[in-house]
Each structure stands twice: as structure tokens, then as C-alpha cells.
């Protein structure tokens, strides 16, 4: 028969998909998943604290040797600047992506800060006094750039902190979003250029001007200002800390503070403290990137999992509802149509002024043959789900329940059904055909789901596994749906019986055939608090 082949294909496909992706946990979480909205977990808090402590320890360890001269390492500044450039630009790109998801101006501020850091490293490295010798030996330009960098970054963090809480949650239209990102990137590029131009040209332009005197104030004043700014940013972040991003930005601020402290302490270039200061800031900056990247990887894994689960679910549904019922519908409708039409024809032959009994006889013969054909069809469906020991293996029904819940997770969520799972962890295994029993569970869960589709009260699906003395296991699927009319409870397992407007009603009949083929029993009853309960028992494996 046609549908048989289709059903088996679908079953094969289904089991392949099942092998390809192990069952996922059935957690139905609707939590915020982005770094900028997700509250930090305990582990993350500990990790951040450990990082800060480590940085502090490194700082303390460095202090005694801070003034020890190392000498000029020509490769240090280019390498450091390149690293900072890459780290800052990737961080900024990732934060811009987050901005495009969350639509928060705060994120735009902090990603702008990172982008500016990335841009400023280029002139900063190029103007480093000892690197390309010829230009500006005094290092004024470089000094100004360093200060602007150290000034803008904490400012962007402060901006982020101030903006992040009191924001009207409104969605930006997509074009505006892109425009905002492009505009801020362009503005920052211009700003970085401007700063560089001012810093390089300043001495010539306004040697005695006000701006120059402000920028070129005594190192100590500047350092104090930057220190205070970083401290303020840290304190502000602390008072408004909520998300994972806040946590790691605090770590970065600590890194910046430690760097500034070391710089103030040593006051000279090319000593241990000077090199260490840069490294500490680099490490703390890398951390935000590392966290962002790990989150991206995590999100990717989740996405891949959910896409896979969706695909498997679709295939499973295809097997149960669409393909199977459509092919059965096609096969079944032929004899049915023939019976109906023949019956009408017979009635007409009879109703003639001279009834044509030969025609009536031939027509009745046809009706009988069509009925036989329908009977054979049902028989072959039973044969399809008949016992075939080759496919049977020890099966943990708890695992199967989890797998099917994962398969139907999306559908359950979409229908706002909450799932209560109560599994007996000491459940013995059963000797069963996994594909067939998965079909049974999918059918029972889908039935429960559909029974609750029109529910005004809570939609709860309870799936339970238990040991049924003496040597059986019991699985029950209870819903809070419309329940079963006691008048039809005996008929719901009949083939072609359905109360649904769409569907062939083959599902429960096939389920019962499968369970009985496994030497078990499947029955339905009214739930304790309304709804209905479908339960089946299967003989447990003797060897526990």
C-alpha cells in the first residue's frame, strides 16, 4: 500500500534525525539572553571578582619592582596598539550588534567608546616618540592622544551607565538603527581624526593658547583627573549594576584604574611598572571581548539546537499528522466514496418504476467489496504497527519522554502550555521499538495540546512515569482540556473516530495498536480536575 511506504520513509527520516541530534533538555526558558540584559550568574560574579583580585595581586606584586628599568622594547608599542585595535574594534562591533537587537542608546554609547579606542590607537602608536623617531621627539602629541583616549573611554562607560536604566523601551525602525550605527561610526572617525590633527598641529597652531595649556597641563593634574573619572565610572556602574555587561565593564574599569595608578607611581617610561600597566589594561579589555564571544558562541549553540529541534519536530509531525493521515485519507476515501455512491445508485435503481434488481445486486456487490477493502486497509495499518522484534531494544521511557517533550517544546510554547514532568528515576527499561513508542508519545502529547487549544483556564500538561507493580511501567499524559464525553470514551480508540474538524482520527487507534503490540495497555479516563488522562502500561524488562 502506498501510505505504508511513505510512513516508513518518514519513520526512517525521523529516527535519523533523532540520532543526529541527542535529546535536548526540556527547559522552557523565556529569559533575556543577551549580555546587556542577562543578570550575571553566581559563577560569573565569582569569576569577575577573581579577575579583579588577580589584577590587584599583580598590581601589588608589580609595585616593588615598578621602577626597575627594562629598557626600550621597540616591538612593545606596535604589538600593544595592534592588540588594542583588534580587541576594541571587535568588541565595539559585537556591542553594535547587541544595540541592533536591544535598541538601547546606552549600548550605542559604550560601543562608540570602544570604537573610538580602536581608532585612536592608530595615531597613538604612530606618534609614539621613540618608534618612528623623526616626528615630535618630545612626545607631546602622543601624550595628548593618551589622555584623550583615557578620557573618552571612561566617559563612554559613564554615558552607558546613565542611559541604561531610564530608557523608554521603544523599538527603533530598522533603517534608523543602521543610520544610528553608521552615523556614530562616522562621527567617531571624524572625531578621532580631529583629535589627532589637533594633537599633532597644536604646538604649531596655538603654542601659548588656552587649549594647549589645558591639554598640556602637568602630568599629575591629568592623572588625578583621569583617576577620578575612572573611579566615578566604577562607582556609578556599581550603584547601577544589573547585567553581565555591567559586571565586566566594572572589571575593565578596575583594569584602567590599576593602569593609571601604576603610571602615576612610576612616572617614567620603559620601567616594569610602565609595561605592566599597559598589560593589565589589555587583559581587562580582553575580558569583555572574551565574555561577548563566549556569549555569542553560546547563542549560536542555542540557535542551532532550537533550529534542529524545530526541524525534528516538523518531521515528526509530518509523520504523524500530515503524511500518515493524508495517505490514509486517500486510501480510505476511495472505498468510502465508492460505498456512498453505490448506495445512492442502488437506491435509484430501486426507485425506478420497474426496479432493476440486477443493477441493485451488482451495486450491493460493489458495496461489499469496498467495505472489504476498507477492512483490509485497517488490517494493514495494524500490520504496520505490529510486533517486529528486530526493532526492539531496551528503552528508557524517561529518556523518551524528555526527547519527545524537547521535540514538541516549540509547539507547547506557542500554545502557552506549561509542562509538569514527574519522572520516576528508578524506572526499569522496557523492551520496545523506539520509533513506534515515540509516535505514541507524540500523539498523546499533541492530543492533549489540541484538547487545550480552546482553554480559558490554565493549560497544563502533566507527563508522569511510574513503576506499576508488580513488573510494569506506567506513563500518563494528563491535560486540562475539554475532557472526553463519557459517551464516546469507548469509541475514541476506534479507527476513523475523531472529534476534530481536521484529522482522520487514526492517531489513537494506531497508538493503542502499538502499545498492545508491545504487550501493554492504553486507556483514557477523566482527569481529577477536568481534562483527560491517557495512560499506558508496558511490561518492564525482567533484568532490572
Amino acid at each position: 500500500l502506498k501510505f505504508r511506504a511513505i510512513a516508513q520513509n518518514a519513520a526512517a527520516r525521523d529516527s535519523r534525525a533523532g540520532v543526529a541530534a541527542p535529546a535536548t533538555t526540556g527547559a522552557l526558558d523565556e529569559q533575556p539572553i543577551l549580555l546587556s540584559t542577562l543578570p550575571p550568574s553566581r559563577g560569573q560574579k565569582r569569576l569577575a571578582l577573581a579577575t579583579v583580585l588577580l589584577l590587584l595581586a599583580a598590581f601589588c606584586a608589580t609595585v616593588p619592582f615598578a621602577a626597575v628599568p627594562i629598557g626600550y622594547i621597540r616591538e612593545f608599542i606596535p604589538a600593544y596598539a595592534a592588540a588594542m585595535f583588534v580587541i576594541s574594534s571587535i568588541t565595539s562591533a559585537l556591542l553594535f550588534v547587541q544595540f541592533s537587537v536591544v535598541h538601547s542608546r546606552a549600548l550605542l554609547a559604550v560601543s562608540g567608546g570602544y570604537l573610538f579606542s580602536a581608532l585612536i590607537t592608530i595615531p597613538w602608536a604612530l606618534t609614539f616618540p621613540d618608534l618612528f623617531g623623526a616626528t615630535d621627539m618630545s612626545g607631546t602629541t602622543w601624550g595628548v592622544l593618551t589622555r584623550v583616549w583615557r578620557l573618552v573611554f571612561p566617559l563612554s562607560v559613564i554615558g552607558y551607565t546613565l542611559l541604561k536604566d531610564d530608557e523608554a523601551k521603544r523599538a527603533w525602525p530598522r533603517p534608523l538603527l543602521y543610520f544610528a550605527i553608521l552615523l556614530s561610526a562616522a562621527a567617531l572617525l571624524v572625531a578621532a581624526d580631529l583629535v589627532t590633527w589637533l594633537a599633532t598641529g597644536m604646538r604649531e597652531l596655538t603654542p601659548s593658547g588656552l587649549l594647549f595649556s589645558v591639554i598640556n597641563r602637568a602630568q599629575a593634574d591629568w592623572n588625578a583627573l583621569l583617576l577620578l573619572l575612572a573611579l566615578f565610572a566604577l562607582a556609578l556602574l556599581w550603584s547601577r549594576r544589573r547585567s553581565v555587561l555591567d559586571l565586566w565593564l566594572m572589571v575593565v574599569m578596575c583594569g584602567l584604574l590599576i593602569e593609571l595608578c601604576l603610571i602615576i607611581l612610576v612616572g617614567r617610561r620603559y620601567v616594569v611598572g610602565w609595561y605592566a600597566a599597559r598589560l593589565y589594561f589589555l587583559v581587562s579589555s580582553t575580558l569583555v571581548l572574551a565574555v561577548l564571544l563566549s556569549e555569542t558562541a553560546l547563542l549560536y549553540a542555542r540557535l542551532a539546537r532550537s533550529v534542529m529541534a524545530e526541524r525534528r519536530e516538523r518531521e515528526a509531525r509530518l509523520m504523524t499528522m500530515d503524511v500518515l493521515s493524508a495517505s490514509i485519507a486517500h486510501e480510505m476515501n476511495q472505498p468510502l466514496a465508492s460505498i456512498v455512491t453505490n448506495a445512492d445508485a442502488a437506491a435509484r435503481w430501486m426507485a425506478r418504476p420497474t426496479p432493476d434488481l440486477d443493477e441493485v445486486k451488482a451495486t450491493l456487490e460493489q458495496i461489499r467489496n469496498s467495505a472489504y477493502r476498507a477492512r483490509d486497509l485497517i488490517g494493514s495499518i495494524r500490520a504496520m504497527v505490529k510486533r517486529d522484534d528486530r526493532n526492539r531494544a531496551p528503552l528508557d521511557l524517561n529518556d523518551l519522554v524528555r526527547e519527545v517533550l524537547a521535540l514538541t517544546e516549540r509547539e507547547l510554547q506557542r500554545n502557552r502550555v506549561s509542562v509538569e514532568v514527574e519522572l520516576d528515576e528508578h524506572l526499569p527499561s522496557v523492551q520496545a521499538d523506539q520509533v513506534q513508542l515515540r509516535q505514541v508519545l507524540i500523539n498523546l502529547i499533541t492530543n492533549g495540546l489540541e484538547a487545550m487549544a480552546g482553554n480559558r483556564r490554565a493549560r497544563i500538561l502533566r507527563v508522569k512515569s511510574a513503576i506499576q507493580e508488580p513488573d510494569s511501567v506506567l506513563i500518563s499524559v494528563a491535560d486540562t482540556g475539554t475532557g472526553i464525553d463519557p459517551e464516546i470514551v469507548d469509541r475514541i480508540f476506534n479507527p476513523l473516530f475523531t472529534t476534530k474538524s481536521n484529522g482522520m482520527g487514526m492517531g489513537l487507534s494506531i497508538c493503542r495498536s502499538i502499545v498492545e503490540g508491545h504487550g501493554g495497555r492504553l486507556w483514557a479516563s477523566a482527569g481529577a480536575k477536568g481534562g483527560s488522562v491517557f495512560q499506558f502500561v508496558l511490561p518492564a524488562n525482567i533484568a532490572r
Binding site: 476515501n333 466514496a337 455512491t341 445508485a345 435509484r348 456487490e365
Partner: protein, 160 residues
């Protein structure tokens, strides 16, 4: 039982290949004259039980009924020229119902077509109706619906 089915099949197909009026045993009540004037209905279905059932119903209405197992068989038969109404299955091996419809339209034949399918698909239905089908019935259908459509076909045939 297989033999019985085979016998019935053979019997039905025999009828299909010859005009209903030439088998007086089955229609002693139908006057020869009436039969000659009776509109001819052709039935195409690859399902034998369905073919016989529709044929019986159509014959009971007093029409000349001819059955064909495939669209190709119908296209080769002389009934192509005197069919007043065509009742055809949609999904068939070889030419399917819609393809047959296209072919007939291309040949300039304006035979009213009633589609019957056990596999109702909205897209195909829309397709067929758009191409000028008279009706579209899903198996199992009510005989009254088919009779009404046949009457409509004969009615339009008389007018033109």
C-alpha cells in the same frame, strides 16, 4: 474473493467499452430511442470500485455511461467526440485530471469537466476551477452534488 473482484472489474470495464444501450439485460426499462438521444457521460478513474460506482449512478439517471481507466484511454476513444459531461479523477497515473483539462482546452473541446479527488488540495482545486472546470468534488461526495453538476452540464450543453 479475488476472482469475484476480477469478474466484477471485467464486467464493469466491458460495459465501459461498449455503449450502455447494447447491454439490454441491464437496462430493460430504457427505451432504445431514449438511449440513443441520452446524453453521454464519460467517467475516468484509475480506481475500479469508484469507476463502477459512478457509472452505476450515472446509468441509473438514464444517461449513457462510459468508463475509462486513464485519460489516455479516453482520448483514444470515440467518446471523445460525443461526451456531454466528463467526470474525472484528479490524481491518476499518466495524464492527471488537470493535464487532461489543459489538453482538451488546447484542442478546442468544450466538454464540461467535473473533478473528483480523494486528495483534496486547495491549490489544485483553484487551478482546475480557474481553467474552467464545472465542479470539484472531494471523495466521498454526496451523490446529489454530482447529479446537480451533471444536470448543469447537460443544461449548458443544450443551450449552446
Amino acid at each position: 474473493m479475488i476472482l469475484a473482484v476480477a469478474a466484477v472489474t471485467y464486467f464493469c470495464d466491458m460495459q465501459g467499452l461498449s455503449p450502455a444501450g447494447n447491454l439490454p439485460r441491464l437496462r430493460p426499462h430504457v427505451e432504445d430511442q431514449q438511449l440513443q438521444n441520452a446524453p453521454i457521460i464519460s467517467i475516468i478513474d484509475d480506481d475500479e470500485s469508484m469507476r463502477c460506482a459512478v457509472k452505476s449512478l450515472v446509468a441509473s439517471l438514464g444517461f449513457g455511461a462510459y468508463t475509462f481507466v486513464s485519460a489516455e484511454k479516453f482520448l483514444q476513444s470515440p467518446r471523445l467526440d460525443d461526451t456531454s459531461c466528463l467526470i474525472t479523477d484528479l490524481q491518476m497515473p499518466g495524464l492527471n485530471g488537470v493535464e487532461l483539462q489543459k489538453l482538451l482546452v488546447a484542442q478546442g473541446r468544450r466538454i464540461p469537466i467535473i473533478f473528483v479527488t480523494a486528495f483534496p488540495e486547495e491549490r489544485l482545486r483553484a487551478h482546475a476551477m480557474e481553467a474552467g472546470a464545472l465542479g470539484f468534488l472531494s471523495k466521498p461526495f454526496e451523490s446529489e452534488a454530482l447529479i446537480k453538476l451533471i444536470d448543469k452540464a447537460i443544461e449548458t450543453g443544450r443551450k449552446t
